[in-house]
């Protein structure tokens, strides 16, 4: 069992929790993920690490309440325990030799962009951190983002905060203004990553994307998290996000396939989420 040390509700659907897990905290690196189960018989879900404190022995994650499991998790408070917490899994983000990079995050993906930006920034790399949100109500962690970057750019889909701009527009502006990035790291919804890659491909800027497919064991056993990389010579190769990733060359990812695979249980999840919400409502009454 793993204790929730702190809990911060960032927005009505976005929650940060800090979990006591000293062995994982000792080894965690930006870009890696954990798998958790909320309770006995619970589902195993992968969530990327947001932050870690090696001295305190804690690992922080940010999750969005989208399904039954995250709904149940959101009812756990500080001091409560969750059943399982496994990690650190996957490979850490590596951007060797880069001197100037853009880190692009969208939605809950900004939670993952943060540790990558922070690590690069601390090691002396020029980091332009570009994040996008739907509207001003869901803008989170702005102070942290500013501290973890050289320049910070934020846009909202509806213009209700700072300016109306998609991350692709913010990124392209910087590129056109002569930013001359060595590489781009991108994490967020699949469609966002796909379109960021379309921009960077035009300017031939190597782009790493952090993939978050559906997983079951997350340790290299079930193959659920597979995706296709298309090579330049027309051949394609199957990779497993849990052991080969989660970072991949964004120009090679078969986005359409990954988008479809990501929706496989969408209908089921919506139904299950509703059911779970109703259960919690009944308890409150």
């Amino acid at each position: 069992m793993y204790r929730i040390v702190t809990k911060k509700v960032l927005t009505p659907t976005l929650v940060l929790i800090e979990i006591e897990a000293p062995m994982i905290a000792k080894k965690a690196e930006p870009g890696q993920f954990i798998i958790l189960r909320v309770d006995e018989d619970g589902e195993r879900i992968p969530i990327t690490i947001h932050d870690f404190d090696r001295e305190k022995g804690t690992v922080s994650i940010i999750y969005q309440i989208v399904g039954a499991t995250t709904e149940k998790l959101s009812h756990k408070e500080e001091g409560d325990y969750i059943q399982d917490f496994v990690g650190p899994l996957g490979n850490a983000t590596e951007m060797p030799g880069c001197k100037k990079v853009a880190v692009v995050g969208g939605g809950v993906g900004t939670a993952i962009a943060f540790p990558v930006a922070k690590k690069l920034h601390e090691s002396g790399v020029h980091v332009d951190l570009i994040v996008g949100f739907r509207n001003k109500d869901v803008v989170v962690l702005e102070d942290e983002f500013r501290k973890a970057s050289t320049n910070f750019f934020v846009g909202t889909d509806d213009g209700s905060y700072v300016r109306k701009a998609l991350v692709t527009e913010l990124l392209e502006e910087q590129i056109q203004a002569g930013a001359n990035y060595d590489a781009v790291f991108c994490v967020g919804p699949m469609m966002m990553m796909k379109f960021v890659c379309k921009v960077t491909e035009k300017y031939n800027i190597p782009t790493i994307v952090s993939m978050s497919p559906i997983m079951v064991d997350g340790t290299g056993m079930c193959g659920c998290c597979r995706l296709t990389l298309k090579e330049a010579d027309g051949t394609s190769v199957t990779k497993f996000a849990c052991v080969d990733g989660p970072d991949f060359d964004g120009f090679k990812v078969d986005w359409d396939e990954s988008v479809k695979r990501g929706k496989m249980y969408g209908e089921w999840e919506r139904h299950k989420h509703e059911e779970t919400c109703n259960l919690f409502k009944k308890e409150v009454k």
């Binding site: 080894k27 589902e43 059943q83 340790t219 193959g223 659920c224 199957t238 479809k260 089921w268």
Partner: protein, 462 residues
């Protein structure tokens, strides 16, 4: 006077048309009368060939003689001397190619039902003996075991009996490895695996769940910082293999590992489970492959209400699955499309499987392993309407341990290389089971766990 009946006592089982709708155990086990009758078929050979056919050399005639004497606990103790998991082996061992293949009674008529008797004895023990096994005196040596599957549990058991301080590290949230994520409830109830694990705990073995060795702690750290003098790697087989045909990543194509893990470990066969599985009621499933894992996937699909094909590229004679599993599958209404091979899977416009193109095969000359090579019949392609495809083609080793353990030698296929004592290229690090051999059987993994335990004991007791 031995019982000279040529046929073995049949195993009482749930009726096919009943069991193919539930997940309860298929085989119900011998009654005492049946066990006594079957035990009397053993001739108690002076030179028992059956023992040589067993990867862990259970003293078979000895335990059967105890059954004849109605000393069932005595029989259990004989088995337990060499096998840590009698209730498991009695259920999942391929006896017909091991002990029973060598049985002299098999020359004319059926071999003695050794597996069925082993199960009877183990179940009798579990039902009637509640006292925990004695905790041996500690010998002061610390050993780490990576993976709690059959290899790891056997190695842990053998070392614990000798007084070693054993810790088992498991990556998943439940101990048992393939016994809990792979083999379905109707073939091996999870409560039986749990009993075996509890028995080891009673002997002092510690279990640490959620520990992905190589990520959270490396093997070198276990030895240098955590004080383990030896490590046994029984991490099992890893990533599932695919055919690399078009359409393999459509929604509705599962590896057998994923499909079975969802059902067994995550209990997706239950209506209220938190882990989803695509609904299979009234749907058509094609399982590709012919091994035990393919049979398990096919029989699970059937129980979830699907119409099921097993698509296999050779003939019935070459099916690598245990004969009993194949017979059970046929009885349960699974259709075998032998001498067929998939060439492409087709999807609908939202990315779900709708059909699979297969090609007919014929058998050519035997290959280097003596199995006749399947050859495609040109122009024989046809489209089979299916909603779900399960690839049961075996696995390749998980790269994690190798990539995080400097100096650990692996072979071309990625399997860990060991010497005749079970030791890897690293001093004090032993390995066995699927991590070494690639996908094999529970009992072979147990044999490897025994070898590792013996090697570790010889090294540390020097």
């Amino acid at each position: 006077m031995p019982n000279m009946s040529l046929v073995k006592n049949p195993m009482p089982s749930q009726e096919p048309d009943v069991r193919n709708k539930n997940f309860l155990e298929v085989a119900l086990g011998y009654t005492e009368e049946q066990a006594l009758d079957e035990a009397q078929r053993c001739l108690n050979c002076k030179n028992p060939l059956c023992v040589q056919g067993c990867p862990v050399n259970v003293h078979i005639p000895e335990f059967i003689a105890k059954i004849v004497a109605k000393d069932y606990e005595g029989a259990y103790q004989v088995i337990h001397e060499t096998s840590s998991l009698p209730a498991v082996c009695g259920r999942v061992c391929p006896q017909e190619t091991q002990c029973e293949m060598h049985c002299i009674r098999g020359k004319k008529g059926d071999a003695v039902g050794i597996g069925r008797l082993e199960r009877f004895v183990a179940d009798w023990h579990n039902a009637n003996v509640s006292e925990a096994p004695a905790k041996p005196a500690p010998n002061g040596h610390k050993v780490a075991i990576i993976g709690s599957g059959p290899a790891g549990l056997t190695c842990a058991g053998d070392l614990a009996k000798k007084g070693y301080d054993v810790t088992v590290f498991e990556a998943l949230h439940l101990a048992g490895g393939v016994l809990v994520y792979g083999i379905p409830e109707f073939r091996l109830p999870k409560s039986i695996v749990q009993k075996e694990v509890d028995g080891l705990k009673a002997m002092g073995v510690k279990f640490e769940m959620n520990m992905v060795i190589g990520r959270v702690v490396s093997i070198d750290e276990l030895m240098q910082e955590y004080g383990f003098e030896a490590v046994f790697v029984g991490s099992g087989a890893g990533l599932p293999m695919f055919m690399h045909i078009p359409g393999e990543n459509l929604c509705g194509v599962y590896s057998a590992n994923e499909f079975l893990t969802r059902i067994n470990l995550m209990k997706a066969y239950k209506e209220d489970a938190d882990t989803p599985l695509m609904p299979l009621k009234g749907k058509t499933v094609a399982v590709v492959g012919g091994g035990n894992v393919a049979m398990d996937a096919a029989r699970c699909s059937k129980r979830l209400g699907a119409n099921v094909y097993v698509v296999y590229r050779r003939s019935m004679d070459e099916l690598p699955a245990r004969r009993e599993e194949v017979e059970h599958a046929i009885e349960e209404g699974i259709i075998f499309k032998i001498l067929h091979n998939p060439v492409e899977i087709h999807g609908n416009d939202v990315g779900y499987v709708k059909s699979m193109t297969c090609i007919e095969m014929e058998l050519g000359e035997p290959d280097e392993r003596g199995r006749r090579r399947p050859i495609e019949k040109k122009g024989s392609e046809f489209e089979l309407p299916v909603d779900c495809v399960i690839m049961a083609l075996g696995t390749s080793p998980n790269p994690l341990i190798k990539s995080t353990t400097p100096g650990l030698e692996v072979n071309k296929k990625g399997g860990i290389v060991i010497d005749e004592a079970g030791m890897t290229s690293k001093l004090g690090v032993y390995a066995g089971g699927d991590a070494v051999t690639g996908a094999a059987t529970v009992i072979l993994a147990m044999g490897a766990g025994k070898l590792g335990a013996k090697g570790i004991d010889e090294q540390l007791s020097k």
